[in-house]
Symmetry: C2
Subunit: 410 residues, 2 copies
DNA sequence: TGTCTTTGTGTCGTTGGCAAACAAATCTGT
DNA sequence: ACAGATTTGTTTGCCAACGACACAAAGACA
């Protein structure tokens, strides 16, 4: 008679995903905290932690050390397994791309920048991106369990097409997700998961930056996080509500670039005037300062450098920053009235603006937003270095976070 | 030895809530459909249906009749028990109030309008509202399991205070939910649920209208439903995302009245110019037609009557409607770019506008919204008579839908 | 009438978790 | 040093909530 014992490892399957997410986002430093956060018994939490450790995703330290000022038996520390699997993450922008391997917890394990041939088509660029990632995988000999890509364009759902890749010289409507997935398949990047080949998860870069900031950065703990930022041209936005990206019904939500912030302002390609896209992006800033943008580095870098180097010494730079802050504040106030976020995080050029005069920005928002608690609404600079890249990794990690048992044995 | 058998009725507890919601929203006409929608076995679905019937919430017909053109054994029909419990729902507006008893399925069982003393304070008004509801309960002898209230003001969460009850002559910040709950307790309206006294669920009327339209009306099945409408003054909005109201972090989301639709337009009390609130509400419409609004009935009713009676004959009325449609379209386009809904439902005056010239409104939205599929975006009139009232009932039903076992035995 | 199709019901086994008793590890006070 | 106090981890027993399966029921169709 075969006695199939219900082993401890088979318990707690339902809580595996939530538990991994807690460790992933740093909200479960110890097993005791995990127990409380999951709302389960110590027995169940123990089984869950053991199973995640058996899957090679987390580590449970063998010899816990007591925290200071606490009584009782010290709890085992939980941590992301530093030798665990990684995902391939990449970000494409106007000047080039960056490929990386990212572990759980949003930790970048290895990364490499790449140049982009001007005018190259998406298949060519994404091929280079995946080649670069594959090289990192060979160097580090890490197991890969997914791939994610951030692009500076709205991405239509569920097709995965790039609708306005203006700064990449790609065709509008290019099937980016399909192309990326194809590149992964061609180069035999395994999915690492049960059920099908590797899927190249693809989304808009600001959306992914927001996701990353919510899970690992300045947006941590926010219920309704609004992220607004610039790349090299234009302004993008994203909303993370209750931990999930609000992408809308077809991925086109938070296209905030065409909020009107100056009815008499610059004409915009959308047909209107004074849109945020043309009034509060790096080019607009450079124009306000009276400088001629040079072709050597990106507009964003020129703008950031100008603020860094001359904000304290050049009144024109200060005035330009103030002008952009007021416009941005107007746009944000409109968004606050519609979305009622409990935190705002700014990226790109806007991050620099809140750094140099956060008070003015907060004032501009409060002045135009309604009965809210906007005075108490935190407006913070983003806190992660490569937030779109980390966000692309989040996308790729999501299936694992949803059900860790889908991981194939190493 | 006591043999405590696991009876059939104790099964399927976890699926009770989802099952009741399916019947409530009309998505489970038969037990077979319920089985498929829940994704459980027939045995479990049977147990769930039996338990809901035992709770007095639904009926399972004894002698099923085969549907035409189908083979196999006919499935039992599921329906809301017409003798089941009700909730007390009420709506307050500038001219008065309306109290009602509403059963599951959004069916209004009994209703009575009420006048409001001009300038009366909230405690007085809500006292009359609850008295009116209590009278209906005595008349109908129905069991009451909750109470909900719709107010024409933003309601701050989690406090439940009315932030801008401009049209009610109430103080801004009046603790409406607390007052309503107090009135219920004073009059011994039972909660009908385990755990505590009756709670007077309270929310903004447009939000509740949106919830009602999503569950029982023109918004059924939408993933991201945007509702915009007028009461007697001003413009309100609401978003239902994946079946849940997006209230934002403190209940103040979708305050769409201050979107700018005409930079050179009327001054608004918010300090700006040309806000939707003053450019697309019933007063604005009446002004555009050149009529002097009379004091006898509400502005909304005057506007609706004017459209009904004179749209076909009076060019000035048509022109005014066109002007408002264009402004509304501009505002909606902005919202579409931010929220990316897959359906728009219009209420109040805006419902009449889409009725008389929906094509113009759809054109105005498409023209200004970006790379979306806005051409395919349905823009519909609302379809429920008292949608805020039904929405208030939804609020009160929610605890029962979440866990029907909280219902106390009759 | 027999067969097919679909739906409802009863039985059994598995699973995922809880409760409680116990064991372990550390702090605190004497 | 030693005895509680406190907190955490582990083991055992148990049970509710299902699914799987076989069978029964009720109609359509030939």
């Amino acid at each position: 008679m075969t006695l199939t014992r219900t082993t401890k490892l088979e318990r707690g399957r339902g809580a595996l995903g939530p538990a991994l997410e807690l460790v992933h986002t740093g909200r479960a430093p110890t097993r005791a905290v995990l127990t409380a956060e999951l709302g389960v018994t110590r027995a169940t939490a123990g089984a869950v932690a053991a199973e995640l450790a058996a899957l090679g995703l987390i580590t449970v330290d063998a010899h816990p050390v007591a925290a200071e000022g606490t009584q009782g038996r010290p709890s085992h520390r939980l941590a992301i397994d530093p030798a665990g699997p990684v995902v391939l993450a990449a970000q494409v922008h106007a000047d080039g791309f960056r490929a990386a391997l990212v572990g759980l917890g949003g930790r970048i394990v290895a990364t490499a920048p790449g140049c982009m041939t001007v005018g190259a088509d998406p298949a060519h660029v994404l091929g280079e991106v995946v080649d670069s990632g594959a090289a990192l995988l060979r160097e580090t000999r890490r197991r890969c369990v997914g791939a994610g890509l951030a692009v500076p364009s709205a991405v239509a759902e569920p097709e995965g097409t790039a609708l306005n890749p203006l700064h990449l010289a790609w065709d509008a409507g290019a099937p980016v997700r399909e192309i990326f997935s194809g590149c992964l398949a061609e180069r035999d990047i395994p999915s690492g998961l049960s059920g099908g080949p590797a899927t190249g998860w693809t989304a808009n870069d600001v959306n992914l930056a927001a996701l990353a900031e919510h899970r690992h950065g300045a947006g941590r703990g926010a219920q309704h996080l609004l992220v607004v930022g610039t790349g090299h041209r234009g302004v993008g936005g994203a909303l993370v509500s209750h931990g999930k990206l609000h992408t809308g019904s077809s991925g086109l939500a938070l296209e905030v670039g065409h909020l009107t912030v100056d009815p008499t302002g610059r004409p915009c390609h959308c047909g209107g005037r004074g849109c945020l896209d043309v009034e509060a992006d790096p080019l607009a800033f450079l124009e306000e300062t009276g400088r001629r943008p040079g072709p050597e580095v990106s507009l964003l870098e020129q703008a950031l450098e100008l603020i860094r180097a001359e904000y304290d010494t050049d009144a024109r730079v200060r005035a330009a920053a103030g002008t952009l802050i007021d416009r941005l504040g107007l746009g944000l106030a409109g968004l606050v009235n519609i979305l009622n976020p409990d935190r705002i995080v700014l990226a790109g050029l806007h991050r620099a603006l809140v750094d140099v005069d956060g008070a003015r920005l907060r004032g501009a928002i409060t002045e135009r937003s309604l009965w809210g608690r906007s005075g108490e609404l935190p407006v913070l600079p983003c806190s992660l270095r490569h937030n779109s890249l980390v966000g692309a990794a989040e996308l790729a990690w999501q299936p694992v976070l949803d059900d860790p048992l889908r991981l194939l044995p190493a």
